[in-house]
């Protein structure tokens, strides 16, 4: 008596737009964040085209300012922050804990509509001239001097924030209250721990950026004077508030990615995770510590020297739990039977690139070195290694790993491996030269540069076009596979985890009967379970 798959019934656009099924909402999010990803990429293409030559010739300086701002705003607020939690998280959190849905299914749908509303308002701002403040909206430029659509964009981002809060709230309550019988906290997949930690940051951090943007909008539109020095305000105060959210936002982007990697590494090394509790608590430690390091963005903003030292030390400290995770994944691989399927290639990509991104982060948390490379391409390269090399690699890896579950069909492995390789090569060619450019002193956010830096810039632009092709290929074959891919069984990878015990694609109710959990996670072989468990 197998129920129909969630994809098959009910039919019709209406049933999709009014669905409260977490799996369908995940698909709605997948479609929307993919659209925004390609929109953000289009801006990146324009940026790399301009930087092909030293002279600022392809676009005006003002236009260039709008291009990199919209690239940042779209990628961060409308793709990177929501991507993994709202697509993979929405789909998998209930399935992994043996629940029928999230705790508040209608709230979940509402959060998608809030996202769409906020994103549409910002999109409207793009069409009406765009913004030139950078995604950081620094005052007093944003409140007083910018001639871009700061108010509209700000309101759009403000609204989208509430979608984030609702999703985080839903996950926290779901993980507390909806776990299947026998599923204690230490039996949860690490993906769940990562999403729990992420949700904490979403719920507690996002209101601060919401309030900050509201104050910027009020200052610009109603003449309030909190940040504008001309009115007695304090622009540094804005930076404190902005980074109080926006540093944790980095972890909102990367913690779920780490959760994905924990699943991939265990599934493709066929081993239990090394040091489960360390990895689990590292997520929580990152979430907590992440709230106390925001000042490392302000080393040259004129905060006190003591504040700088404290923030520098704390920033070094937050690298510890991240390093624990990297070491534990590597230790998990040791003596595992590793298979090099596409998701695992992405996991390898993540571990390597995230490590480079993390280590260069340590350069930047060192007070002296940061003064030298602050606001240069070194910083740009660093955070792209974290966000593109980390988050997007994990997102693609997770998407391939769970694609058979989501769509019920398998993707073409050859094409998938090929595109993973193209992405890896393209990524490094794009962003590694930027470390060198930054070290040589090329500042970010300018559309012209000295001719001696052209070679590295051309390399970067060439890499970007390879990267772009690499991203288009999966988009095509994943879409293709939904119709033409081979049908798959419940557990094509032979992986552990409750999501693999139900048909692919799952029925609307997820499980015919509520599963009862009697084992720890990642039990890939019984001897293994005895040794490690």
């Amino acid at each position: 008596m197998s129920a129909e798959s969630y994809l098959a019934s009910p039919r019709g656009v209406r049933s999709w737009l009014l669905t409260t099924d977490h799996k369908r909402i995940a698909i709605l999010y997948l479609v929307s964040v993919t659209l925004f990803f390609f929109l953000g990429s289009a801006f990146a293409v324009a940026i790399r085209l301009e930087l092909l030559t030293p002279a600022g010739d392809a676009v005006q300086a003002d236009t260039y300012g709008r291009l990199f701002t919209m690239h940042g705003v779209v990628m961060i607020f409308f793709f990177l922050i929501p991507a993994i939690p709202t697509v993979l998280g929405n789909f998998l959190v209930p399935m992994m804990i043996g629940a029928r849905d999230l705790a508040f299914p209608r709230l979940n749908l509402l959060s998608w509509y809030v996202y769409v509303l906020g994103a549409s308002i910002s999109l409207w701002a793009i069409v009406h001239g765009g913004v030139d403040t950078g995604w950081t909206f620094y005052t007093p430029f944003s409140t007083t001097y910018s001639n871009g659509a700061v108010v509209t964009t700000g309101i759009g981002v403000f609204i989208t924030g509430f979608s984030s809060i609702l999703t985080g709230l839903n996950f926290i309550v779901t993980i507390h209250r909806m776990r299947a019988p026998g599923l204690g906290w230490y039996r949860l997949p690490l993906f769940i721990w990562a999403h729990y930690a992420t949700s904490l940051m979403m719920v507690l951090g996002t209101p601060v950026i919401a309030m900050t943007l509201l104050l910027v909008v009020a200052e610009r539109a109603l003449g309030l004077g909190i940040f504008d020095p001309a009115r007695g305000g304090d622009p540094i105060l804005f930076q404190h508030l902005f980074w109080f959210y926006s540093h944790p936002a980095v972890y909102i982007m990367v913690l779920p990615a780490m959760g994905v990697i924990s699943e991939l590494v265990t599934a493709f090394a066929k081993k239990n995770i090394f040091g489960y509790r360390f990895v689990a608590w590292a997520s929580i430690a990152i979430a907590v510590l992440g709230f106390f390091v925001w000042g490392h963005h302000m080393f040259v903003s004129g905060q006190s020297a003591y504040a700088g030292m404290v923030f520098s030390a704390l920033s070094f400290l937050v690298a510890v739990p991240s390093a624990i995770k990297v070491f534990n994944w590597t230790a998990t691989l040791y003596r595992g039977s590793v298979s090099f399927r596409t998701p695992m290639l992405y996991a390898f990509g993540f571990i390597g690139l995230f490590t480079i991104g993390g280590l260069t982060g340590l350069f930047l948390s060192a007070l002296g070195l940061d003064v030298h490379v602050h606001d240069t391409y070194f910083v740009v390269a660093h955070f792209h290694y974290i966000m593109v090399g980390g988050t997007i690699m994990a997102f693609l890896g997770g998407l391939h790993y769970w694609w058979p579950k989501i769509s019920g069909s398998s993707y073409p492995e050859g094409w998938a491996r090929f595109s993973a390789l193209v992405i890896f090569v393209g990524f490094n060619l794009t962003f590694f030269p930027q470390f060198l450019l930054g070290y040589l002193g090329m500042p970010r956010r300018y559309h012209a540069y000295p001719p001696e830096l052209q070679v590295l810039n051309v390399m970067s632009s060439a890499g970007a076009s390879i990267l772009g092709v690499g991203y288009l290929i999966p988009m095509v074959y994943l879409f293709w596979s939904m119709r033409y891919g081979a049908r798959v069984a419940a557990n094509p990878w032979g992986a552990s985890g409750l999501e693999w015990t139900t048909p692919s694609p799952p029925p609307t109710c997820n499980f015919e009967t509520t599963p009862v959990v009697t084992q720890d996670p990642y039990t890939y072989s019984s001897e293994e379970a005895q040794v490690v468990g």
Binding site: A218, G225, I226, H240, L241, P515, T523
Partner: protein, 200 residues
């Protein structure tokens, strides 16, 4: 392959008590999030104050103390009336519970009237939202709080109507319980606001 799934039959639909606790946890998380919204503004206020040489800043009037104190008492009584209403409802005394609910609504409205009077007097004394950081922070904080009071009053009005129609009883008081949590939150924020902005 995992054999974590045993074929045991457990019904999906959770009992009401379970669902109620889930909703209440949701409200707790929601209010924790909302607390951060106010925390950001309190931080702004604190920073402005820490940077100021004299307080209140030159040219800004001294804020009244007595009238906001009255507002504090009024809002606290409104919260108390809501607690009373829930207790009565649990014992099935729907009629008196509706009355207590109505009292909470009336007291909340009185708070808004007092707040408006305070705004008028402060504004008449020369403090404008756009004169500088102090005025901006004062009106943002009190304004955001008042907006939350308005939302609470609308909800209370709906609850009163529902209670009079007999929609609530000992077995069904979750909506009132959730809004009561919200209302107490608004009260606590006001208390903090009163202490930081008017007293200290």
């Amino acid at each position: 392959m995992t054999d974590a799934v045993m074929g045991e039959l457990v019904p999906y639909r959770s009992p009401r008590a379970h669902a109620d606790r889930t909703s209440r946890l949701g409200m707790v998380i929601f209010l924790a999030s909302w607390a951060m919204l106010f925390a950001a503004l309190f931080f702004v206020y604190g920073m402005i104050r820490a940077r100021a040489d004299v307080w209140p800043p030159a040219g800004a009037p001294r804020l009244p103390i007595a009238l906001p104190a009255l507002a504090t008492v009024v809002l606290a009584s409104s919260s108390a009336a809501l607690v009373r209403s829930l207790a009565l409802l649990e014992r099935g005394r729907v009629r008196s519970a509706s009355l207590a609910l109505g009292a909470a609504l009336v007291l909340g409205t009185v708070f808004l009237v007092v707040q408006t009077t305070v705004w008028r007097s402060v504004h008449a004394a020369g403090l404008e939202p756009a004169t500088g950081p102090y005025g901006s922070a004062f009106y943002s904080l009190t304004g955001l709080h008042a907006a939350h009071v308005v939302v609470g009053l609308v909800a209370l009005a709906a609850l009163v109507i529902g209670a009079l129609r007999g929609s609530y009883g000992p077995a069904r008081l979750l909506p009132i319980r959730l809004w009561a949590m919200y209302w107490h939150f608004v009260g606590v924020v006001w208390l903090l606001l009163y202490v930081t902005v008017y007293l200290v």
